[in-house]
Homo-oligomer: 364 residues x 2
């Protein structure tokens, strides 16, 4: 790999100055058509590819955005090491198992990432995706931050001090509201209305009255979902007889809660879950206890992940517009670059209730 040709080579070949070469690529109309042809031809012959590093340095902008994602399934030991050396090579069999089981469907993070990608492509922005295990997120994050003009992150995927530091330098947008960092741009959804609507549906359409909210890690998103639930109850004049089990993070404990309830034989009319993942776990636990959904108890989720469409009974849920959320993050970032001093934006996108089988409906 001999070092590639530079503006200097192209300029010499075309018999012009390097400035003209640069103009030919960046501001073509400043260059006479005939000269442009000349330069383009020279570039073509030489196989010239402009260096983004040099451009970025000169311009003070890289022209790329970053996304810091994460992977539920990334084995911590399978992580990135500072020295760039091989930690352990994941065994092929592990990969297959992982993909065939858990990654059968795109998850929330995948769908959002797609939105970010598509929007970046549409707007002609390069996109750097990073991610990784919690161990050394900070180093990775910092590396990415040095390469981009703006960064989109999932909350809690990175320590907030690190984030704050980066936000001093480039715009950062968070998806889903983290409790801290009120001064960053945010993309969220209307959690309150979503859960309120699905809860009202259970009450009004199915005549259920003893509802229980369950699941969710502590976050303002989930706080809002609970609030929507409680609001719907009180609007309907129903007492809140079932103590909400929130936060109720790990898969383990959701399973245990449900199992305990089953053993006591004290099923509510419905489990209103904070997330689809929780709902799936709940349905598994119910199935294990021989409880039929939706006949014996209704279950609803929140997110609208693909898996919920396919399982039986299919999952009634509140769908977040994930791709749109990703796209909106990109919008915010680019907008922020043009208007650094605008007050932080918190875009709240609408959600949509999707009625399927798990609440007792019979979708077409």
């Amino acid at each position: 790999m001999a070092k590639g040709p530079t503006v200097y080579h192209v300029a010499e070949r075309a018999g012009v100055s390097i400035a003209t070469v640069s103009f030919t690529f960046r501001q073509p109309d400043k260059v006479k058509a005939s000269t442009r042809e000349l330069v383009l031809a020279a570039a073509e012959e030489l196989g010239y590819v402009p260096s983004a590093s040099a451009r970025g340095l000169a311009r003070g902008r890289t022209g790329a955005l970053g996304l810091f994602a994460y992977d539920y399934l990334l084995d911590p030991a399978d992580g990135i090491r500072g020295d760039g050396q091989d930690p352990h090579e994941p065994a092929a069999a592990d990969l297959e198992r992982r993909n065939e089981d858990l990654r059968l469907f795109p998850l929330y993070v995948d769908e959002v990432q797609r939105g970010v990608e598509l929007e970046c492509w549409r707007r002609g922005q390069a996109l750097l995706v990073g991610g990784g295990n919690p161990e050394n997120n900070e180093a990775v994050l910092s590396d990415i931050a040095g390469r981009v003009d703006g960064l989109a992150v999932f909350p809690r995927s990175v320590p907030s001090e690190a984030l704050a530091r980066i936000a001093r330098r480039i715009p950062v947008v968070e998806i889903s509201e983290s409790v801290h960092n009120r001064e960053l741009d945010h993309v969220t959804v209307d959690n309150v209305s979503g859960v309120r609507a699905i809860t009202e549906h259970l009450i009004a359409a199915h005549g259920l009255s003893e509802l229980m909210f369950l699941g969710g890690m502590p976050s303002s998103d989930n706080d809002e979902r609970l609030a929507g639930f409680l609001g719907a109850l009180s609007d309907a004049g129903l007492p809140n007889t079932r103590e909400p089990k929130y936060p109720c993070g790990s898969e383990q404990s959701v399973t245990e809660v449900v199992r305990a309830i089953c053993e006591q034989g004290s099923l509510p009319d419905a489990f209103v879950c904070a997330t689809d993942q929780d709902a799936l776990v709940v349905m598994d636990a119910l199935a294990a206890a021989g409880v039929n959904v939706p006949r014996d108890v209704a279950v609803t989720g929140f997110d609208g992940i693909a898996a919920g469409r396919v399982i039986r009974p299919s999952l009634t849920t509140v769908r977040q517009p994930m791709e749109q959320m990703g796209r909106t993050m990109v919008d915010l970032l680019l907008d922020r670059l043009d208007h650094p001093d605008k007050p932080p934006a918190a875009i709240r996108l609408p959600v949509r209730v999707i009625l399927r089988e798990s609440c007792g409906c019979q979708p077409g």
Copy 2:
């Protein structure tokens, strides 16, 4: 956004030279521990984030790899424009429809991309993902090429002249074998054995004898799959009574072929399809004609996309190790960077036959 602090600021604050600052980050052991602390503290206070552009320029390496993917569903009008302006904003409703229908499951390209991402993260490599519509792939591709040390591409997602040009400058690895570019590194799978094995299964385990190969765009992958099919037939001493319908690209024409066969009432014993996508189309067409799979006819695919696991009847297929393929691309790229002069590698990964319902098996 005031311009961020640079090595100069950090150096001044710490009372050292910029070289020492640089060493502190890049070769920490060349710096006395006490000095290092000093520099780190200064960097922390200032919120210093090293510029990758400057580093890349100075080192002649960006430290990033690129992936050029594509999206089946990317509306051409929804594409990237050279001027970076807004073409048309995709309507939210369109997004939802798209995601809920066609993108319900991760596709081949998605799974490979995941592999690339995970391996990059694991190895501490930044990853740039680009993609887009065929319209101006070339400009986008060139932009990406200028940003990375190596590029992974899907075949036919880019014009091969453009690719050749880029390959003059940085290593390029193709996944799945394109007909041209024998001089690039490649990752493929063992197409021949895969189809041979699945065909043998139909013959030996289910006693089928009249088999028809169907589907696939022209490519060396699919050539090999056909060869595997024919090989199995001849090994079994079966005549090739059914003219293979390959290439048979568009969804439309696969549907038509199947419909015509159904109308003639001349079903073969099995359709051996070049890809899962084809197999799904075939099964749709058969269902439309009132033909039962696998009772009236068996169907097999190739790829192992997630959708095949979930549909009924579930799809017997040959699974490619897609994540592993993505990871291998990264391996090849990094290896090539260290050994520019090694002869082109063509890694061929093994595949696995997955027996499900569509061939007549009863998976546990």
